[in-house]
């Protein structure tokens, strides 16, 4: 089977999964959810008013029609309009994507490089003091709630020390930079613990493999062993881990965007929740799922390309 057949088969399998995702979303938002008309009008709505709103929102049509609607929106990426702002949702998403990426992009880059570098460092000096220290720091970092970090960080570095912008945003490069420095910095701190631990585990798994012993018996130095032998083998699981994080970048950061007033997709989701804006939440759920599935396929394809044992003939 060649690579194109493989990709095609995976894309094909994506369809029943996407249908399933739409089903879950549909069940949640069209079945289980409280009546949005009631939410809008409160207890004072008359029966006619409720029926009117339900009709406008298309909620009085048969269930299977509503389900198909959800499916249609998934395949055409037409999510309709926001109930709160009447904007076209796809447009909103396009507008919010860039600000979100201006934070998550650099965050992802810096975090990954830092974590891998740290992991290599402690794998090289495994068992020594620095290994234990970084491990302790990592576990500690993993245990602090991110909201606390954002709140405290914003207050301390932005307000108290006034080193950084507290909030606001300007689009366009490089104008956005001063606004994203602090959130990026804070989230690097939040994330590095878990990432470093993961990469450390991956790298250490390789370090204890037999082929490393062989490399040593050839007379290679520990540095060469780490950077030539161990790293290349480690890159396989590390790469897959990296690729799979990319689809999450568009979700932005719910906390940071809210508190730093950055008009990204995270803030959009939070606003939607506060405004009971069903279609926006639905849209983000579906869109992020699609990205996730696509990148899942990408990851597997990358795996087959990078690992000689997995090369498809």
């Amino acid at each position: 089977m060649n690579i194109y057949t493989y990709i095609f088969r995976r894309l094909l399998y994506m369809i029943p999964v996407l249908l399933g995702v739409c089903l879950i979303i549909f069940v949640l938002f069209n079945l289980v959810a409280p009546d949005p008309a009631l939410l809008k009008l409160g207890k004072h709505g008359t029966v006619e008013q409720i029926a009117q709103i339900n009709h406008e929102l298309g909620l009085d049509r048969p269930l299977w029609v509503q389900y198909l609607d959800t499916v249609k929106s998934a395949f055409t990426l037409d999510f309709g309009r926001s109930w709160a702002t009447q904007q076209d949702i796809l447009e909103m998403i396009k507008l919010g994507a860039l600000p979100s990426l201006s934070i998550t992009g650099p965050l992802f880059l810096i975090s990954t490089i830092l974590s891998i570098a740290l992991a290599l460092l402690v794998a090289f000096y495994r068992g020594k003091l620095i290994d234990r220290f970084v491990l302790l720091l990592s576990i500690a970092g993993m245990s602090i709630p991110s909201l606390a970090v954002v709140l405290f960080g914003q207050w301390f570095f932005g307000y108290y020390l006034s080193w950084f912008e507290i909030s606001g945003y300007e689009s366009g490069f490089p104008e956005f930079i001063p606004y994203v420095i602090l959130p990026v910095f804070l989230y690097v701190f939040v994330n590095f613990g878990a990432d470093t631990r993961f990469y450390r585990t991956v790298i250490l798994d390789e370090v204890y493999q037999d082929y490393v012993r062989t490399a040593r018996s050839k007379g290679l130095s520990e540095t060469v062993i780490m950077f030539k032998h161990v790293l290349k083998n480690s890159m396989i699981p590390i790469l897959t881990q990296i690729i799979i994080q990319i689809p999450f970048l568009i979700l932005g950061l719910l906390f940071a965007e809210t508190f730093f007033s950055i008009p990204g997709l995270g803030a959009m989701i939070v606003n939607a929740v506060n405004n009971s804006d069903f279609p926006v939440i639905k849209a983000m759920a579906i869109l992020s799922s699609i990205f996730f599935m696509l990148f899942g396929i990408l990851t597997d394809v990358a795996y087959t390309l990078v690992d000689p044992r997995m090369r498809l003939k």
């Binding site: 062989t214 018996s217 007379g219 290679l220 690992d307 000689p308």
Partner: protein, 330 residues
């Protein structure tokens, strides 16, 4: 008379563990000569692999260290050598192959690359093309068919036997003075075993290196070794040339090992007997008995063996045959 390449003198290797410090190798002596094969025999845990790692300078520190004795390579001491100096010898003058060919090669580099790596490290004056040619030559030398094609393949495309051949090719590419083979055939099928051992003998004739063959399999020893040292609990209990050892074993442990080889010999005239085993189990290195380490399993043990006379030392009983026992068998 062959040239002596290696001399191990009173080697002691310690490991620090949660339960205390233990001597995995406790006073080991042997010599290796060019063109000759020394067999080091013993059960798991006898210290044979640790001895090999010590010679290669690969004892992980922590938790292990060479605590005593010396290792002389062509007269030069290896024990206190700086790590950068030792790296020049490793893979170059002294090479090692291991037990698990399936996992000993790096899965993401080609075979050619892995052979060329050693050449690049120790013979830097070779050009890339020369390295490639040498790699192909080595593959041919170890009996791998179509070496020009194989050289660009990855380890997972080869069988276990072939991978072990590649390991040998890597080990011998710089024409070392000593090849250490730690249970090289244990993980392979019996038929492949024979092939690999044949190959090693042939290469020894061609290249003239000394071989240290570590194994628990006496059959292998009989086939390939010139001289044998038997290890038990980190010490050598008997040492002799191969014929003498098999014909006149002196140490009760050696005798026990010989007798536990299943025999298909129906011409013996006796009724086929049950498989002989050595009673008891190898004592834990943390709880060695006072006196002779073998006393708990020895049919000939007396009061002398329990500490009154100290530990038995290796003494010569003629013809380079040494044994460490208070009551050798003859």
């Amino acid at each position: 008379m062959s040239e002596k390449v290696l001399e191990v003198k009173d080697l002691v290797v310690e490991f620090r563990t949660d339960r205390g410090t233990v001597k995995a190798v406790n006073g080991v002596n042997f010599e290796v000569f060019k063109g000759k094969t020394l067999g080091v025999v013993g059960e798991s845990g006898s210290g044979k692999s640790v001895t090999a790692l010590a010679i290669m300078g690969l004892i992980p520190n922590p938790p292990g260290r060479i605590a005593g004795g010396d290792i002389l390579f062509n007269g030069k001491s290896l024990v206190n050598l700086a790590p950068s100096e030792m790296r020049k010898i490793r893979g170059n003058k002294i090479a090692m192959i291991f037990q698990e060919p399936m996992t000993s090669l790096n899965p993401v580099y080609t075979i050619g690359n892995q052979i060329e790596e050693v050449l690049e490290l120790h013979q830097p004056n070779l050009s890339k093309a020369q390295r490639r040619d040498k790699a192909i030559d080595m593959l041919r030398l170890v009996g791998i068919p179509s070496p020009e094609k194989r050289v660009t393949e990855y380890p997972h495309q080869l069988s276990g036997g072939m991978r072990q051949r590649v390991m040998i090719a890597i080990a011998l590419s710089c024409e070392p003075d000593i090849l250490i083979a730690d249970e090289p055939t244990t993980a392979l099928d019996v038929t492949i075993q024979a092939q690999i051992l044949e190959l090693m003998k042939k290469l020894q004739k061609e290249l003239g290196m000394g071989i240290i063959l570590i194994t628990h399999d006496l059959g292998v020893v009989a086939e390939t070794c010139d001289h044998v040292s038997v290890m038990y609990c980190g010490q050598i209990v008997e040492s002799a040339d191969v014929r003498t050892l098999f014909k006149h074993p002196q140490h009760p442990y050696t005798k026990g090992l010989m007798e536990s080889i299943p025999s298909f010999d129906s011409t013996k005239g006796e009724k086929k007997e049950r498989l002989q085993t050595i009673e008891g189990m190898v004592p834990s290195l943390f709880e060695l008995p006072v006196g002779c380490n073998f006393q708990t399993r020895c049919s000939k043990a007396t009061e002398d063996c329990k500490g009154a006379k100290g530990e038995p030392r290796l003494h010569n009983i003629g013809n380079e045959h040494t044994v460490a026992c208070f009551h050798p068998l003859s």
